[in-house]
Assembly symmetry: C2
Homo-oligomer: 155 residues x 2
DNA sequence: ATGAGTGCAAAGGCTTTGCATTAGG
DNA sequence: CCTAATGCAAAGCCTTTGCACTCAT
């Protein structure tokens, strides 16, 4: 896989299930029907989804099960809890599946969209961040970058 | 003020109160004792503070007043609600006072520290973000960048 | 006096937890 | 069979709101 090509960093859609199954197995967790549905919902979206959204897609799954399964999936490194500005959490498949990307958040309606920036800038940025982190006594794991603005429908 | 120097972008500590008073007046709000205490607490910290932290510093102020005053101050453009990974919100003085900066978050203990990166990278990044935002139909207002890692005490 | 600000307590809303039931290995 | 997963409902926790009182203009 060409590491300089962000798009190809993501796992092919058909392989997501297998990838998730492996990740879950690594932490001794089952890939149950409910978890399959949640992963399918996230896999079919091009942006992080909120719990209400996940619930409406995976009809039949209890709210508490969604929360619990998302926690399991997050612990297994399969999904990530995304911090936006709204009052509810959003979830998306991890970068090992989706590839590295960032989010654009509409400050008016809360809409979220995935975005990618050139690798050259991404690398320069990471290099600078590692330095400032080290200087402050931190060991950097990764960075989080969001674009805040107004989407086309709200403008 | 040299716009290429982030540090000097911030308002001198002694002028914070005056600056805040002006901002509040612009939206028809008073600069009461409670608000003064909150601003002083935020002004004295080099990182965003949580409500519990603010409460412990501004002893005597009711929790509801802190929430309400922070909302007023946020609306006046004096403070900003910072999104980290913890379960509680954090607040800091706005960039017009603190200058543009980012945050380092410890994924182990939740500690937050302010960090700044070179202007050259900041500018390059902004240029790239405006482009990708426009391409996605967004009008960028600003960006949010956090370093996630492990602090010295948790390592 | 007169409306904004404050305290206290209750209500809200997302998230978590307890417990009995069901399903997977 | 036996442990993990699920549903349902109750409990938690941060945050917001209602209401009466106080303060500043």
């Amino acid at each position: 896989m060409a590491s300089h090509d962000h798009i190809s960093d993501s796992v092919a859609a058909d392989d997501v299930a297998h990838h998730v199954a492996t990740k879950l197995a690594e932490v001794g967790q089952r890939f149950t029907a409910g978890r399959r549905d949640i992963v399918a919902a996230l896999s079919g979206a091009d942006r992080p989804l909120s719990i209400p959204e996940i619930l409406s897609i995976t009809k039949g799954l209890a709210q508490s099960s969604v929360y619990r399964n998302l926690a399991v999936l997050e612990n297994a490194g399969v999904v990530i809890r995304v911090i936006t500005t709204d009052e509810w959490a959003r979830y998306e498949l991890s970068e090992s599946i989706m590839g590295h990307h960032h989010h654009m958040v509409c400050s008016a309606c809360g809409a979220v969209a995935d975005v990618r920036i050139p690798d050259s800038i991404e690398h320069e940025l990471d290099a600078a961040l590692v330095l400032v982190a080290k200087r402050a006594g931190f060991t950097m794991a990764h960075h989080r970058l969001d674009v805040v603005g107004v989407c086309s429908t709200c403008r």
